[in-house]
Amino acid sequence: MTSTLIETSIYAAISESIQAEAKRILSDGQVSTIVGYAAARRKGSAQPIVITDASDAQKLIFTPACVNNLAVYLTKAKKDIPKKGKIGIVVKGCDMKALTGLMGESQLKREELYLIGVPCAGVLASTFAPSQELTDESLAPKCTECDAHLPTGCDFVPTETPLTPELEKKYAVEIARLEALTPAERWAYWKEQFAKCIKCYACRQVCPFCFCEQCLCDRNKPQMVETTPRPAGNTAWHIVRAMHLAGRCAGCAECERVCPMDIPLNLLNRKMAKELKELYDHEAGFEVTEKGPLTMFNEKDDQSFIK
């Protein structure tokens, strides 16, 4: 089977637009800081960068290696970012959903942000080297299910329109496969995956919604979740994590991307999102809402599972 190339030629023009806009808003003082992507040492790689000087604007890029959801820098790492005036941030459609959620949870204020949206055809999967060209195979799995190639509600979006071929939705397919298994088979699947976990908490640290000052799982009085990275504690951790993100996670898949042990964490999040859609017709990240699906109720909610 040959892989299909994903058209990313517009990324160069997008990078130029971002640079020009960044330069403009930094020079005229509209923003004090911009969080974006810059090229890194390894071939084709990119990394987050925080700039405060208009002369650094030309460092900003957008490439298929610009995988990070930079929204995380506006939450717990926020304290370290110089916080005077507005902060500019480069966001893909999927990242934008996280910002929307954070606004609903009183973590961010829209008026304190300047959103530079990027039209995006997709980014690279974590399992491929940054120098890899973008194809339907090397594409991050989340991008196969993307419904936000063009971010909405931004202050600035380059005019380029990405070409986005219809692809097999990788998570939907995998969730369907797992759902078709028996509980024992699913248990065996997750047991093998969770056993690999070493509790490096990269999934937590990179998640825009894990903004708690002290994670429940870091507490020892009482110890709600065993902290030792052995199968029992790992399983508990991943169940608790998925539950805490239910109804909030909008699918940036950062947890899964950064997992050094390749645990398909976003599968859990997507499954929860699927259930919330079916149960309460809720989809995270589309609009700033006062309450999430698990902080509200409807008297007529399904209770067929209750005796």
Binding site: S106, Q107, C212, E213, Q214, L294, M296
Partner: protein, 665 residues
């Protein structure tokens, strides 16, 4: 290490018959932290409690577990005993080995093992119990009463008579409400105004009542004992302090043809007016929408003729903040709108009965005004269309009420009685007239009520037809009423001169908006919800707010007055102490860890969670965190289960306690 004392009760033989209590005492005595364990015949008896107190002191116990009946039975008893022995009462827990064990199992071995585990679980729990001091909240001994109808008046007078200040707020220019509009009242047929107006005057003259008419509630902040209420006093255009109520302005006002809402729009009033002659306060108000001065800038006659110079066209709405400790909500009812579908309401109108199109189809309240001696016709029953006396009159009950398909499934409760009253008033006033009543059921429970209804039929010649009207139409100057008499099974057609519709009772317009300001709950019809339908019928779930009258559901006058006095009694109970004491089972926020996502606030049904700013010594804002007001928190713990980082914790049911119990098993 803790020194826990465990006391296993035999409960006579209720427990010891199936649970080997001595073995339980022996086995739990081996648990880590247990310093003393024993069994005793009756722990709740005086000697039992004495044993408990003595042992606490002798053994220097730090915590106590009493294994006996359900804590719902004796938790208070034992906590009191523990407190008497010098321990904090919340360091005592009960293990339920009777209702949950000895009474539901027969196998001694199984029951004994289960009892041991239940006690073991409570031992682990009690180790994590903390000293909880009783929470006290200061009480501002002033009350707000919202609504100046009979409910509000009664509540205000009762509270004020008890010596507490009352702030009474009425939306209309005068207090009196719907009762002031009525002609006579059932079942005694005494004149409504005769019994109502003295109470209105009492309100006006009461030194403890501060009356705000033509005013509305703008904002309610705070909690039980400590509310801050912002009242919007709408511009009256007449200075209340200088106006003498002489009424010259009204006689001189050139605008005289404005339908008077008080008279159901069949009587007329001036642009500067009081709604009815006995209005309290007797201070006119300018209806700016209809006043020539406000519309064109010309006129100003009232100002010119006013001796004391009380007319003030420049007056503006003003906001007043009143601190109060309790709130009585008595906003009353409104009548079902028959001719139109209210906007955004699930209720469908009754267009088919021609109300609003056929002039002589009126509602019950309009009939009251026609029958009232102070009404637009001076108490004569005359048709609105031509002023003729109706010789045949048809009353139709249950308009809107009990009609699920129309959106209201409840019974409005008072219509059967007032329709019977109407037939009597009609019979008294229109000699030779005939009244017909279409009804589904006659619901007349209440003192002297059924007798009253029987009297209408048996002595006052009303013809009651069991059945519903299908159609109404104008034919010449008659209204043809077509219906069925299901008792006899025939179609009935009556050529009536006038038709009176007994329309359903609904909450006041905007009742939902007020509820949102108050933070109280309401049902799908916007009637306010009581905390418990049977046992707490006058309290709202939100502490410190009480209900009186038809705002909670349809009620007649005696019921309304009873509830108003009950609400007043609740307020007086609250005001009987300087400090409000409450069980310290409330949620607390660990501010250091709180990130201010306010999930807790979103799920709190009581509005107990507030936003609190944390600032450094220089006054710079560090973060905004949640704060649980212990005066308002009801202690359900939904916030804690929702908090992702468990930075809000319910005292008495902490995660530590729960996890200790799970791990004990």
């Amino acid at each position: 290490m803790s020194r826990i004392g465990v006391f296993i009760c035999h409960c006579g033989e209720n427990i010891s018959r199936t649970v080997d209590v001595e073995r339980v005492a022996r086995d739990v005595g081996r648990l880590p932290g247990v310093a003393f364990s024993t069994d005793y015949k009756y722990m709740c008896s005086d000697p039992g409690q004495t044993l408990l107190k003595k042992t606490i002191q002798e053994q220097k116990l730090s915590h106590v577990v009493v294994a006996a009946c359900s804590p719902r039975m004796h938790e208070k008893t034992f906590r009191k005993a523990v407190e008497a022995a010098g321990l904090n009462p919340f360091l005592c827990e009960m293990a339920n080995i009777r209702e949950h064990c000895s009474w539901v199992h027969e196998n001694i071995e199984e029951a004994t093992i289960k009892a041991t585990e239940i006690v073991g679980m409570m031992v682990e729990r009690v180790k994590k119990n903390r000293v909880l001091p009783t929470i006290t909240v200061p009480v501002t001994k002033r009350s707000l009463v919202i609504g100046g109808g009979i409910a509000g008046i009664q509540a205000a007078l009762d509270i004020a008579d008890a010596g507490h200040e009352v702030v009474l707020v009425e939306r209309e220019p005068s207090i009196g409400g719907h009762m002031a509009q009525l002609s006579e009242t059932f079942p005694t047929l005494d004149c409504s105004q005769c019994i109502m107006t003295p109470k209105m005057v009492d309100v006006a003259n009461h030194p403890k009542i501060k009356l705000y008419t033509y005013s509305e509630i703008e904002l309610v902040e705070g909690y039980i004992g400590n509310f801050q209420v912002t009242i919007k006093k709408k511009a009256r255009s007449v200075n209340e302090d200088t106006c003498t109520g002489c009424g010259v302005c009204m006689t001189k006002c050139p605008q005289k043809k404005i339908p008077n809402k008080f008279d159901q729009n069949i009587g007329m009033r001036t642009a500067i007016y009081i709604p009815f002659p006995q209005a309290v306060p007797n201070t006119p108000v300018i209806d700016r929408e209809n006043c020539t001065k406000f519309k064109t800038g010309k006129c100003g006659v009232c100002q010119k003729v006013c001796g004391p110079g009380a007319v003030d066209f420049e007056q503006e709405d003003s906001l007043i903040v009143e601190p109060v400790g309790a709130i009585v909500v008595a906003t009353g009812f409104d009548l079902y709108t028959i001719d139109e579908k209210p906007k955004g309401s699930p209720i469908k109108g009754y267009g088919e009965f021609g109300h609003g199109k056929i002039a002589d189809v009126i509602d019950g309240m309009t009939f009251e005004r026609l029958a009232s001696a102070s009404g637009p016709t001076g108490g004569k029953i005359l048709r609105p269309s031509d002023g003729k006396e109706p010789k045949q009159i048809v009353f139709i009950q249950c308009i809107g009420s009990r009609a699920r398909e129309k959106g209201i499934s409840y019974c409005s409760k008072v219509c059967c009685m007032y329709t019977a009253k109407h037939t009597m008033l009609y019979h008294h006033k229109v000699h030779g007239g005939q009244a017909y009543v279409f009804f589904m059921d006659a619901r007349t429970p209440g003192k002297s009520y059924d007798e009253f209804w029987r009297r209408a039929i048996e002595e006052e010649d009303a013809v009651y037809i069991r059945g519903m009207v299908s159609r109404l139409y104008q034919k010449g100057d008659k209204i043809v009423v077509m219906g069925s008499d299901i008792a006899v099974g025939v179609q009935v057609e009556i050529e009536a001169d006038m038709v009176v519709l007994a329309t359903a009772i609904q909450p006041q317009k905007g009742a939902d908006l007020l509820a949102q300001k108050l933070g109280i709950s309401y049902d799908k019809y916007n009637f306010y919800s009581e905390a418990h339908a049977k046992l707490r019928p006058v309290e709202c779930a939100t502490a410190g707010i009480y209900l009186a009258g038809a705002c909670q559901g349809p009620k007649d006058i005696p019921e309304t007055v009873s509830q108003a006095s009950a609400a007043a009694a609740k307020v007086m109970t609250l005001f009987s102490k300087d400090q409000l004491e409450r069980e310290p089972i409330v949620a607390r926020v660990r501010e250091a860890g709180c990130v201010g996502c306010f999930a807790c606030k979103k799920v709190c049904a009581y509005g107990a969670v507030e936003e609190k700013e944390i600032r450094d010594r220089q006054g710079n804002l560090i973060k905004v965190v949640a704060y649980v007001n212990p005066g308002v928190c009801a202690g359900c713990g939904t916030c804690q289960a929702t908090c992702p980082s468990k930075c809000v914790e319910l005292d008495g049911y902490t995660d530590e306690q729960v996890i200790a119990m799970i791990e004990a098993l």
